[in-house]
Amino acid sequence: MSENRKLIKIATAGSVDDGKSTLIGRLLYDTKSLTTDKIEAIERSSKQRGYDYLDFSLATDGLVAEREQGITIDVAHIYFNTANTNFIVADTPGHVEYTRNMVTGASTSQVAIILIDARKGVIEQTYRHFFIANLLRISHVVVAINKMDLVNYDEEVYLKIKEDFDKLVAKSDFSEDQITFIPVSALKGENIARKSEEMPWYVGNTLLDHLEVLEPADLEPSSVARFPVQYVIRPKTEAWHDFRGFSGMLYGGNLKVGDEVTLLPSLNTSKIKSIHYFDQEIQEAAPGSSIAITLETEVDLSRGDMLVKSGELPTSEKQISATICQVNNKALTIGKKYILQHGVNRVLAKVDRIESRIHTDFTGGEDAHSLKLNDIGRVHFRLSKPIHFDSYKSNKSNGSFILIDEAEYDTVSVGFIE
């Protein structure tokens, strides 16, 4: 992979007929990411169906086939690139199970594209998609107002939808500069990769230009360094006899050689002696690095423990409250025990109290005794051991966890710590 190409991760959300498949197909086509055999198949099929245009929804026909067969629609991953950017699209279908799918897709994405059918405007589904983008604290939302060709490219339609959507933004944690509205026709390719001549009143970027100017650094706001120990490297060879490297991925902020660090849970302190990336020793590592760290002093540190800069300690608690999204058919109920996985650390957790089930349309919540698949709720847990966390708001990776069913080992919930 080219070192100078940045990576942007996108989740797409739309209702069934909003033209999401067409939009993704169009992005693939306009970035020349479709192979000749695929384009020929699209041309053939479009002709057979008597269309006077190319039906790009066929580019993602795996999903279409699924729909026809009526089997579980799942998050699909789609890849394309331009000269300076690699894109990963988590395509989350907008049917009944959209909550689980969109939460899953959005958890690995920095950007969400929410599709709105220009003829229908902001509908209940739009509320839900935006609610999840807000819950997951997606850094940037693109509202693609699609099918503008079917409303005569009318600016009034666009402005009305923008006005309605802005009312939602006001209810959310987003600021206005995190939301971008683009009027498009995925079918005709208007404002996707090519500036539309049909909509001279729109002065902003095309969708692709807009996605390309986003900077990963801006999309992942820095906080403080968190280094969960994943695996202890002990070569035990002659050349590396005393080497004890604590390996893992660094989140949130930089760490450098000489930093004073505190180890959790022991609260022992030490200093970073060296940082290793393969056979190189480096002075400093940026967030997202998979590295190995050695310390100046002999310490007791193993998988699941955490290394942080002294003076930047996370919260350590045995009782936590979190917003939960249920991603499995089995309901979450009061008193139930789970394996809670926080990063690479696992503890046991018991549901103490379910505070509420939250409406996914910004209208508040209601009392609840259980949370079923696709439900979102506020839950209080008691843990077997303290975990060392930040609020999800301040540090996504250190503020989220999954719940694993004790008997079946399925992943049943995802949690966002408050």
Partner: protein, 299 residues
């Protein structure tokens, strides 16, 4: 000493996944075919555990119909890196009567590998198999998980997959289950080639253009060789070719190419308009097999 490490996000993610495999499972194994994807996995595993050795063995399921260049390369790599290599042969599964050799026009040992693999998993009690599959390869793979749980028949239940949130991987399994782990799920073919180039990783010579005896069938270029069934009218010729994927001779087609260096190969992939799977005979074959079934049904 380098000043500041700015990570390559896909590489960092893959290293993270490989370390999770080593930490969460008791007996992992890396499925090694000698192809570019599994060679990339080996480099990533080296990076994950350096300066220690890779803490799991490599398993090669040998169909007996591999390109000799691949086998020679495999043995040299294992020797140089001091890795443990386990080889299990499809021929043994045939001799034991567990699978039957295919005959005729599209015959291949490709699908027979599954039995040999499952036997090896049972023999060594492997609980995690690291593979080089990528989600961009084909539609069905686009939904594959990074940790994909299989039952003791190796079966994948697509309706019952564990959702994967953030970068938290759930490898908890019951006795009898095992997990297929895919560290380069999010890489594209171009990512792999660019990485091989940036890292200057050695790959088998058949990935570069060379003269080879071939014949044409179904618009694909097949290796002319005693392992590949060929009809009398299928004329053998010498062409300048290379391979885009490296598997069994019976299911890997060549492409015409002048690319003799990594730069040339990366350039070709960048401009290429035919998908990688387009040169896989096993994919084409399944269409052909379907055709045959339809015919049988018709009669």
């Amino acid at each position: 000493m380098n000043n500041l490490l700015i990570p390559n996000p896909k590489e960092a993610e893959s290293i993270h996944i490989i370390r999770e495999v080593a930490a969460q499972f008791e007996r992992p194994v890396l499925l090694f075919s000698g192809g570019k994807d599994s060679i990339t996995l080996v480099r990533l595993a080296q990076k994950a555990f350096y300066p220690a050795k890779i803490p799991f063995p490599l398993l090669h399921v040998d169909t007996g119909h591999n390109f000799p260049e691949t086998i020679e390369f495999r043995d040299r790599l294992v020797e140089e890196l001091g890795l443990e290599l386990i080889v299990r042969n499809v021929q043994d599964s045939i001799d034991q009567g567990k699978v039957r050799e295919e005959r005729g026009r599209y015959s291949s040992r490709n699908s027979l590998q599954t039995t040999t693999l499952l036997d090896a998993i049972e023999e060594f009690k492997f609980d995690a198999c690291i593979g080089g599959a990528r989600r961009d390869e084909e539609k069905a793979r686009a939904k594959e998980r990074v940790f994909s749980v299989r039952d003791d028949f190796g079966q994948w239940d697509e309706k019952n997959q564990r959702p994967e949130l953030f970068d938290m991987l759930n490898g908890k399994i019951h006795v009898g289950q095992n997990v297929r782990c895919f560290p380069i799920s999010n890489w594209t073919e171009l990512d792999v080639w660019e990485y091989i180039k940036t890292e200057n990783i050695e790959i088998p010579s058949i990935y570069f253009a060379h003269e080879r005896e071939v014949f044409l069938r179904d618009g694909l270029i097949w290796t002319a060789n005693e392992h590949v069934f060929r009809e009398d009218h299928e004329e053998v010729m010498v062409k300048m070719v290379r391979f885009r994927t490296v598997g069994d001779m019976t299911c890997t087609a060549a492409v015409l190419s002048e690319a003799v260096s990594l730069d040339d190969v990366v350039g070709e992939i960048r401009d290429s308009s035919i998908s990688e799977r387009g040169a896989r005979i096993d994919d084409k074959r399944s269409e052909a097999a379907m055709e045959t079934r339809k015919k049988v049904g018709y009669f």
